[in-house]
Symmetry: C2
Subunit: 348 residues, 2 copies
């Protein structure tokens, strides 16, 4: 029925082993034989049987990239960059192509574990976890265990913008400086003269949320300010919308709002619009580079994308183990918040 490697071998007048070697390009094969085999492959329209190959080799060419929300461009950019980087790693099996795929956890710990199990089942070559994680001891332990199993089985683990796993040295970690980023962002707002600032943060039990909150508070404390109005929500547009209305109800005289992400900021802007507040002027929202008040829209976009793509590229390369690993093994890039500063003027 379907064409097998043996068929190709017969057609080319060589042994299956030789065909395998040609396809994988790992062992030396005479140029003449090589061409004959390749031609046979072409003529028979042969496609390697992945499962069989993976079974025999005890590894597959699948790379899973886990994201919290596939509808959020933030993760899209990271995932795309990682996918490109991985695709560029033309090394390994037949054709060298890795199958880089994106898995959407929806921010659910259960789904995350499910995907990890599914990838483990596939004997994935690597898994890349992106974004913060739910800061629950039980889930953290379960994840740590699962990642350890994956490592043992030969799957490379990469953490991108996600805190390192406590007792694990095998995972490659690409950390974002959420705390430092949040601090700088807040300092920036303060330097612009803002004093009545509010925060729309992510879910309370998220690692990124905690770290950023630390940073915000540090900056505020240094400026002699105490706690500011804060609302916790999801990293989505609806949360930004609701949070903003809630914040302005509680503190109508705000001059600046910090949103947890671009998508959240979009919702915040929609709320301001609905409330009849213009932007800029009455209230500034920081966190998104595509809004009217962002002075340097184009440069900002570049600024945002470069570090992220670079992060993705590195994550991809590290995932493949082909190199370029900084000496420390741990890279820190600017927090996303930092590169999205808004320079909107305070109200008065």
């Amino acid at each position: 029925m379907t064409v097998t490697l043996a068929d190709v071998a017969a057609h080319a007048g060589v042994s299956p082993a030789t065909v395998s070697r040609v396809l994988n390009g790992n062992y030396p094969v005479a140029e003449a034989t090589r061409e004959r085999v390749l031609q046979a492959v072409d003529e028979l329209d042969y496609v390697l049987n992945g499962p069989a190959s993976s079974l025999a080799a005890a590894t597959s060419d699948l790379v899973g990239i886990l994201v919290n929300d596939i509808a959020d461009p933030f993760f899209g950019i990271i995932a795309g960059a990682a996918q490109n980087a991985i695709g560029a790693c033309a090394s390994g099996r037949a054709g060298g192509e890795k199958l880089a795929v994106v898995c959407n956890t929806g921010g659910s710990p259960e789904r995350e574990l499910m995907y990890l199990t599914l990838l483990q089942r596939q004997r994935a070559a690597a898994v890349v976890l992106t974004g913060g994680s739910y800061d629950d001891p039980e889930h953290l332990a379960a994840t740590a265990t699962k990642l350890a199993r994956l490592s043992e089985a030969g799957t490379r683990v990469v953490l991108c913008g996600r805190p390192p796993v406590p007792g694990d040295a095998t995972a490659t970690t690409l950390a974002f400086d959420n705390r430092g980023g949040a601090r700088k962002l807040t300092e920036h707002l303060l330097s612009l003269g803002h004093r009545r600032i509010a925060l729309i943060m992510g879910p309370e039990r998220y690692t990124t949320t905690r770290h950023r909150l630390d940073g915000h508070r540090a900056a505020l404390a240094a400026a002699g300010l105490g706690d500011v109005p804060t609302v916790h929500g999801l990293y989505d547009r609806a949360s930004g919308y609701e949070a903003t209305r809630e914040l302005l109800r509680r503190a109508p005289d705000l001059t600046a709002i910090v949103a947890a992400s671009d998508t959240v900021a979009l919702g915040a802007c929609a709320a301001l619009r609905d409330l009849g507040l213009s932007i800029p002027g009455d209230v500034s929202v920081t966190g998104f580079d595509d809004l009217p008040f962002a002075i340097d829209a184009s440069p900002a976009l570049t600024t945002v994308r470069l570090p992220l793509q670079d992060a993705g590229r590195r994550a991809g390369l590290l995932a493949m183990g082909t190199g370029d690993v900084p000496a420390g093994g741990l890279t820190t890039v600017e927090a996303e918040l930092v590169v999205r500063e808004s320079t909107a003027p305070p109200r008065a």
Copy 2:
């Protein structure tokens, strides 16, 4: 080293065959045996070997969802919906999960074919193609052939918002009415009084671009208007930005611009901002529901999401072959453009 099915069998005091049956839940197994096996699985922390399973069964639980641009929320929403739908198909027992993954083609025909080959190699259970395709005879033929091969090999093929493949009856098609949508959108702008309209379209050789262009022209012709300023670009933000500057250079008195997608519209707005044109007032941009001039922001969001999610849900279900297929076998949903009407007033 790693735990195998045989190990589980030994631990449970049954044969490998029985373990397999329990795991797949396809054959009747005595309840007592079943529990014993499940317990052994648990105790040994056994994870099925996907490749081996796929090899023996000649099929895998992998479902590939191909998108043109993973950083575009439009595709993110579709992909997420499809993934949810597929995940919800908990057909069997602990082994019933499908591995729904997203592949980013970047709009490149070559990458699309590469991913299809990679999925074919994996003996994927299904592939879902989303969005328009490059309208080149050679590429179309290559894709058609590849999809035919996939079908033959037992992989279900679903086209979501993508034109049907000419000589193919096996693929499930979920079509978007791009032509009708574009027509209605244009009519809407005309009914608001706009006469100086410009178009930012996608790549010229894209199927969706052609169909939409047809619709726009039909509406314009019916209103006694001839060709309007038109620029072709990619479906991304930068294109929207450049195209808008170009259009306003050519026709400074425009009152409305139709963008090819939300992302393109974002770029258009950035350009207007940089040119010192306020929104709304001087120029209206249609195509995005998150901008200040969109009157009914929240309802619009709902309106947008429901049909898309529904589309995704159906695509997923069809992909799994579990049902709910409309009698005709072919479903038509509103074009994305239609549900994103803007009601911004014309300039004067």
